[in-house]
Amino acid sequence: MYDVLLNAWLILRSRWLRTLSCGLGVALGCTVFVMALGLGQTAQAQVSDRFDVFRATTVSASFRSDAGVTALPEERIPAAGVARVRTMPGVIDAGRFTALSGQPVIVRARVPGTTDAEPVSVNLLLADPHLFAAAHAAVAGHSFTSVDERVQRHVAVVGAALARELGLTAGQSTLSIKGLHVQVIGVIESTHRMPELLNSVVLPEGLAAAALRNSPGDRVDTGVLVATRPGAPRVVGDRLALALLPTAPSTLGVQVPEDPSRLRLQVSADLRRLSLAAAAVVLVGGVFAIANLMQLNVSQRVREFGLRRAVGAKRWQVVTQVLSEATIIGLVAGVAGSTLGVWALLGVCIWQTWTPVLDIGAVGFGVVAGTLGGAVGGLIPAMLAARIAPASALRL
C-alpha cells in the first residue's frame, strides 16, 4: 500500500497543475458545504435571539363581542382584573385596549398653518396608560396618563405611519373623531409587541363613552396585552383568564406564543435540513467534477497505465493508484475548501455584523466529505484505467 501511495504522490506532485484543477471542484464543494452549515447555524442563532426578545414574551387575552353589541371596556374586562395581572409573577406590565371594527372611523386632521385635511379612515383604539409600556412602544412627545383618563382630557396618541400620512406632529395637531376634537400629544415611533399601533389613533379609555357613541353595527373587541419575562408566557397564559375574569374565564380567548425552546428546535431543524440539502447538492456536483476530470486524466495517461501493466502492475494496483490519487486530491481539497469556507463565513459575518456560529464538527465533516467525494469520484476512472490493455496502449 505504501508503494501505491508513493506512486500516487509522485504522479500528483509531478502534475501539480492538473492535480490543482482536479481538486478545485471538490474544494469549492467543501467551501460551500462549510459555509452553508455555518451560515445555517449563524442565522439560526440570529432568528432565535429575535424570537426570544419579543415574540416569546407577549401574551394577550381578548373578549370578542357580537356584532352590534357595544360595551364599555370596564363592562368586559374590569380594571381590577388587569391590576391583578400586573402583580402576577413573571409579568412586566399589562394594558387594556379596545378596538372598534366594522364601520370605518373617519377622522379629520387639523395641522397649524394648513387647511383642514380631507377626512380619512383610521383604526381607533381605546387604551389604558399601561398599554404603551406593555407594547414596548417608543413614543415621541407624551403618552397619556391615568390623570388624562380620569379628567377625560381630549388627547390622542397616533401611530408613526398614520402621523406621516396625515402630517401630524405631537403637541401641534388636532383630530376630529366622531365629533370629538382631540389634541395629538404623542407619536408612536416603534413598537415590538403591537405593530397595529403604528397605524392607529389611540384615545384614553375615559373617552370611551363618546367614542363608542353612534357605532351601531360595529364590533367592539376588548383585550389585554401582557408583557412577560422570558420563560413566563406559558405560566402567565394558563392563569390569565382567571385573573382577568374570575366569574367567567371561559369567555376570554388567550393567545400564548409558541414555546421558544420548541420553536428554536424547529427553526434549527429546518435550517439544518436546508443547509445540508444545499451542501449535498454542491458536494454531488464536486464528485461529478472530480469523476469527469479523473476520467479525462486517465484518458490522457493511457500509455502510462499501459507501461505500468507491462512492467508488472496488477489490475488492483492500477485501481488503487488512481483511487489513491483521487482520494489524496479529495483530502487536500477538503482541507483547503473547509478552511476557505470558515474564512468565507467569517467574512460574511463581519459584513453582516453577525456573531459567527459554527460547529467544529462541520469542518471535520467537510474534510471527510471531500475525501470520500474524491474516492467515489475516482472509482469509475480507476476501473477504466485497470482495463487498459498494455499491448494496445503502448502501440499508441
Binding site: L6, E304, V311, K314, L394
Partner: protein
C-alpha cells in the same frame, strides 16, 4: 500447423519455446496476425525479429512479453507454460522475468530518471532502499550516473532510451524484449544502444528485438523474418564487432 520454414532452432534448455503460436483478431474480416510460429530462444542469445510494417512482428513480441494472449499454440518462458497463467500471474511473471524497451521510450516525463526506474521496480516486492540501489546501479551501467535526478523530459532521445534500458534490466530479468529500440534515435545513438544490447547478451542476458534497422539486426546472433504473420527465415548471421 507450422511450416517447416518457421521451425527455428528448437531444443531442450531453451529460455523461450514457441510451438505453433497463433494470434488472430476477430473481424470482419478476421485477421490472422501470426500463424503457427515455432522457434526457441536460448539463454544468452541475441535474437532479431525483422519484417515489414504490419507483418506481425509487434504481435509476436506482445505475445512473447505476455502483453497479449495467443489464439492458439504454446509459449513456454523460463520453464513456465504461460497458458496456465491468469492475469495476476502474468503480471507477476512480467515483473520478475521480463524487461521491456519501446521505440517511444515510454518514460514518465515529469519523474526523475531514478524515479522512472524505481516505479517499475515497485511492482516486484523489492524494498524501497533496495529499489534505489538497483536503479542507481542500472543507470550507472548505462552511463547516466550523473543524471540521476534529472527530469525525464529534459533528457535527450539517447539518454531517454538508456533510462528505458536501465528500467528494463534493473531487476535482472531473464529476457529483455525491445520493440524498435533505435527507431527514434540518430545514427550515433543508434550505435550506442546496439552496443549496449550486444554487451548485455555477452554478460549472459537474453535479448529479443523487433527492428527494421539492418545494423541492429546484423548485430544479433540470429534473425527471424516475419512475413504476413508467418515466421519464415531463421538465419544465422555473422556478428560484427563493436568497440
Amino acid at each position: 500447423m507450422s511450416s517447416p520454414s518457421s521451425r527455428a532452432t528448437t531444443g531442450a534448455g531453451s529460455l523461450l519455446k514457441c510451438r505453433g503460436l497463433r494470434r488472430s483478431f476477430d473481424g470482419p474480416p478476421q485477421v490472422h496476425a501470426l500463424r503457427d510460429a515455432t522457434f526457441d530462444v536460448r539463454a544468452g542469445e541475441f535474437l532479431a525479429i525483422v519484417g515489414r510494417s504490419g507483418s506481425g512482428k509487434s504481435t509476436l513480441l506482445n505475445l512473447l512479453g505476455l502483453l497479449d494472449s495467443p489464439s492458439g499454440g504454446e509459449l513456454t518462458l523460463a520453464g513456465t507454460d504461460t497458458r496456465a497463467l491468469g492475469s495476476r500471474e502474468r503480471a507477476a511473471f512480467r515483473a520478475r522475468q521480463l524487461g521491456f524497451v519501446f521505440q517511444a521510450f515510454h518514460l514518465l516525463p515529469e519523474l526523475t530518471t531514478v524515479e522512472n526506474v524505481t516505479v517499475a521496480l515497485s511492482y516486484q516486492g523489492i524494498s524501497r532502499r533496495q529499489r534505489r540501489v538497483l536503479a542507481v546501479q542500472a543507470l550507472e551501467r548505462m552511463g547516466l550516473g550523473h543524471r540521476l535526478d534529472a527530469r525525464a523530459r529534459t533528457l535527450s532521445g539517447g539518454e531517454q532510451q538508456r533510462v528505458a534500458l536501465a528500467r528494463a534490466l534493473a531487476h535482472q530479468p531473464s529476457l529483455i524484449l525491445a520493440d524498435e529500440p533505435t527507431g527514434n534515435l540518430d545514427s550515433q545513438t543508434e550505435a550506442e544502444i546496439t552496443s549496449i544490447l550486444r554487451t548485455l547478451t555477452q554478460e549472459g542476458g537474453t535479448v529479443v528485438v523487433v527492428t527494421h534497422n539492418d545494423e541492429l539486426a546484423a548485430a544479433a546472433d540470429r534473425r527471424l523474418r516475419v512475413h504476413d504473420g508467418v515466421v519464415t527465415s531463421p538465419t544465422a548471421v555473422t556478428r560484427p564487432t563493436y568497440v
